[in-house]
């Protein structure tokens, strides 16, 4: 019960951040994908910069409940490519279409319904796709900690700095 409430409250904060930061805006998403308005990518990279440092600091004390996804290369590349087209066409991702729908945006509701259909189609096609793309070339649930063989914090610190440096000083909006 407490876990459910925790999930609900974290979700509330997540939804509020996405709305307030403009991530549920078609203009801002497409602006980033057109490489003109960097708001959303800077938001994401700042989040990753803070999050990677936070998670690996927790990990030092053994307090991080991580969830690493397996690296089955072909399925991820194919899925990522399909996802990328859907992202550009709808202007939403699964999370922001929920926030957009909560604002009353009808195009976000359409994306939300489409997403439920997409999940259904995938579930039906899963046995074939699983055999074709998700079982082979699977590197397992690996992180760069495993790849480089050093404690994650020594990767997280420079990575976090690089992410924050990129967002704060390198990426600039480019309007003609």
């Amino acid at each position: 019960m407490l876990t459910l409430l925790t999930g609900f409250l974290i979700g509330c904060a997540f939804g509020a951040i996405l709305y307030l930061g403009g991530a549920s805006s078609y203009r801002k998403i497409l602006g980033t994908l057109m490489l003109k308005d960097m708001t959303v990518i800077k938001l994401m990279m700042t989040g990753i910069g803070v999050g990677s440092l936070g998670i690996y600091l927790l990990d030092l004390g053994g307090l991080a409940n991580m969830a690493i996804k397996p690296a089955y290369v072909w399925g991820i590349v194919a899925g990522g490519a399909i996802f990328g087209v859907g992202w550009a066409v709808s202007g939403y991702c699964p999370g922001t279409c929920i926030v957009g729908a909560s604002e009353g945006k009808k195009d976000a509701v359409a994306t939300l319904v489409g997403a439920l259909v997409g999940a259904f189609i995938f579930s039906m096609a899963f046995p074939v796709l699983d055999a074709m793309l998700m079982q082979n070339a699977n590197l397992g649930k690996i992180t760069f900690e495993d790849v480089l063989g050093i404690n994650g914090i020594f990767i997280a610190i420079p990575f976090s700095m690089a992410m924050l440096f990129m967002s704060f000083f390198v990426l600039k909006d480019r309007y003609e």
């Binding site: 399925g75 992202w87 999370g95």
Partner: protein, 178 residues
């Protein structure tokens, strides 16, 4: 000029990173796309239990202890409530260009047809979840949470997704001058 989001990307990004850290400490990192399958599975278990049980993917979410309203589903439900309440409070401060169901940028390219916009949004939604489930996550689970955990899979997803999405956006808005 009221063209910028209500809070800066710096504030939103730092808040997001702290929230991700908190979630990872308390339960587990943020994720959204799995819950679309869970929602489908809940419905399927109600209307067509035999199909739900025989489907390899749904049945993963088909054991009573695992499927249904868990932490992850409540998180996504919270996004709807939290986003909705915040939107009600701050509506006046949202930039005009970000309001409504017909983005001005879309209209400038494809005209005022609502059917066209909603069809594209629906089709995009189908592709989003099909792709996300094939890859094992979406912008939240793979990009934000996964890359923050330095997961190799999530870097592959992040790079592929951005390259394809940028190419697709440039294609959709080709010949648009700027």
């Amino acid at each position: 000029m009221n063209d910028e989001p209500i809070i800066s990307w710096k504030a939103a990004g730092i808040a997001l990173g702290l929230l991700l850290t908190l979630a990872t400490f308390l339960v587990k990192p943020l994720g959204v796309s799995t819950q679309f399958v869970v929602t489908d599975a809940i419905v399927m278990h109600q209307i067509a239990p035999t199909i739900a049980e025989s489907n390899q993917y749904f049945s993963t979410y088909g054991v009573p202890s695992d499927w249904g309203i868990g932490y992850g589903w409540m998180l996504v439900f919270g996004m709807f409530i939290g986003g909705g309440i915040t939107a009600m409070i701050f509506r006046d401060r949202q930039p005009e260009a970000d309001k409504g169901s017909m983005p001005p940028m879309w209209q400038a390219r494809f005209g005022p047809s609502e059917i066209k916009r909603y069809s594209a949004a629906f089709t995009g939604g189908v592709l989003l979840l099909f792709g996300a489930r094939l890859a094992g996550g979406c912008t939240s689970g793979h990009m934000i949470s996964g890359i923050s955990q330095l997961a190799v899979s999530s870097f592959i997803f992040g790079v592929t997704t951005f390259i394809v999405a940028i190419a697709a956006a440039k294609f959709i808005y080709r010949n648009q001058g700027a």
